[in-house]
């Protein structure tokens, strides 16, 4: 139900997740100081070509993911036009477009497990320092599982509200929802303890 990854496999799916993330980080660092519109426009075009190489579905998804940006970009552009800095406005808007589209591309072509693997690798220094990073995978799994469960209960609360009132459900359902989350946490904690809890030695 969740996850943004494209179902269709592509050559970008096959690349190691760590390499894609490193390339993205490099792109961010390299692009931020660039002030020449032509260079950034070329980067936008290259990004679009990358999307296109994955097929029409990927291109459409990529464009849809950028939709929340248009309004903000329009405001930024309008602002710079008023100030007579059209060139700077163009640079900024193209830069945002390129970086967000590139980052989305990594997300669209990397499955959750591969992302987790990169995260665990990034945290190996912390693990050496004695931090129990192996627990992170468990906490992530707990939260991922809790979201649909909690969303379902939130839906029930809203339905119950609608049955009683003609007004729209608002913050009134927030208090019971937080209480449900707190009670669920109590049950989860008991279940964790019943299965040995966190007192044991680190898994190898």
């Amino acid at each position: 139900m969740l996850a943004m990854t494209l179902e269709t496999r592509s050559w970008l799916h096959a690349l190691p997740a760590g390499a894609k993330m490193a390339a993205l980080a490099l792109a961010v660092v390299l692009v931020l100081p660039v002030t020449e519109p032509a260079i950034i426009a070329a980067l936008v075009a290259a990004t679009a070509a990358l999307y296109a190489s994955l097929g029409a579905v990927a291109l459409r998804r990529g464009i849809r993911l950028l939709r929340p940006l248009w309004l903000i970009l329009a405001i930024i552009m309008a602002w710079h036009l008023v100030l007579g800095e059209a060139r700077l406005g163009l640079v900024i808007c193209l830069r945002i477009l390129a970086l967000v589209a590139l980052a989305n591309l990594v997300t669209l072509t990397t499955v959750l497990d591969d992302m987790m693997a990169v995260l665990e690798w990034l945290m190996t220094p912390l693990a050496r320092a004695g931090l129990r990073t192996d627990r992170l995978a468990l906490v992530v799994a707990l939260a991922v599982r809790a979201i649909p469960a909690l969303a379902l209960k939130a839906g029930h609360l809203r339905e119950a509200w609608r049955a009683r009132s003609t007004r729209r459900a608002g913050v009134q359902t927030a208090v019971p929802l937080v209480l449900i989350a707190l009670d669920d946490a109590t049950h989860v904690a008991e279940a964790l303890r019943a299965r040995g809890g966190f007192s044991g030695p680190a898994r190898k």
Binding site: L2, A3, M4, T5, M21, L24, V28, L32, L65, P68, L69, I72, I75, I76, W79, L88, I92, I96, L99, V100, A103, N104, V106, T107, L108, L112, M115, M116, L119, R135, L138, V139, V140, L142, A143, V144, A146, I147, L150, A151, A154, R168, G170, V171, A174, V175, L177, V178, L179, A181, L182, D184, A185, T186, V188, A189, E190, L192, R193, F198
Partner: protein
């Protein structure tokens, strides 16, 4: 230990679910989502440290590629966009909200938690949001504040609501409000 882990996981989920709630409109016509309410509550209910960790876990899920931000946004793209500053400010906002709730004992919990939510979830969060706009959108602080100004009344209301909800939670489950645990 198990209790802390479970609370952090469930509050990360709660912040995600509050983002699914349809956003409500103010008279100004500006849509506001309940997501930042979840961030404030993480701090005022769980306390500074656990609240910040719950928010970090939520952001981690977003970065891993789950579309959990209000409006179904997610992935790595949101962390380099013009509103990325708010995301970086989320954990700090929860920490400040929780810290103030835990420290200010002399008044009604709704006042302390509301003040914490206001300082963390509005003042601190907007400082980060403005900083993000400066870095990623090249705006000056004044321009950024003007652009964001329409959202501030909604967030002030959310902070007041967060204070009232925190007191209601405390009345229903006194032991669960860890920011006030002795």
């Amino acid at each position: 230990m198990e209790r802390s882990v479970a609370l952090i996981a469930l509050f990360a989920a709660l912040i995600a679910v509050l983002g699914l709630f349809p956003s409500f409109m103010l008279i100004t016509g500006v849509p506001i989502s309940a997501q930042s309410l979840g961030v404030m509550l993480a701090g005022t209910v769980l306390g500074a440290r656990r609240g910040a960790l719950a928010v970090l876990l939520f952001l981690l899920l977003v970065a891993l590629g789950l579309p959990l931000l209000a409006g179904g946004r997610g992935g790595l793209g949101v962390f380099v966009g013009p509103t990325a500053g708010f995301l970086f400010g989320f954990p700090v906002a929860a920490f400040v909200a929780g810290w103030i709730t835990a420290r200010w004992r002399g008044v009604d919990l709704s006042i302390a938690a509301g003040a914490g939510a206001l300082l963390g979830g509005v003042v601190v969060l907007y400082a980060f949001g403005v900083g993000g706009m400066m870095v990623f959108a090249g705006l000056t602080p004044l321009q950024a504040i003007t652009a964001l100004g329409a959202f501030i009344p909604g967030d002030i209301i959310k902070a007041v609501v967060a204070g009232l909800i925190t007191r209601a939670i405390w009345q229903a489950r006194p032991g669960a409000v860890l920011s006030r645990a002795r």
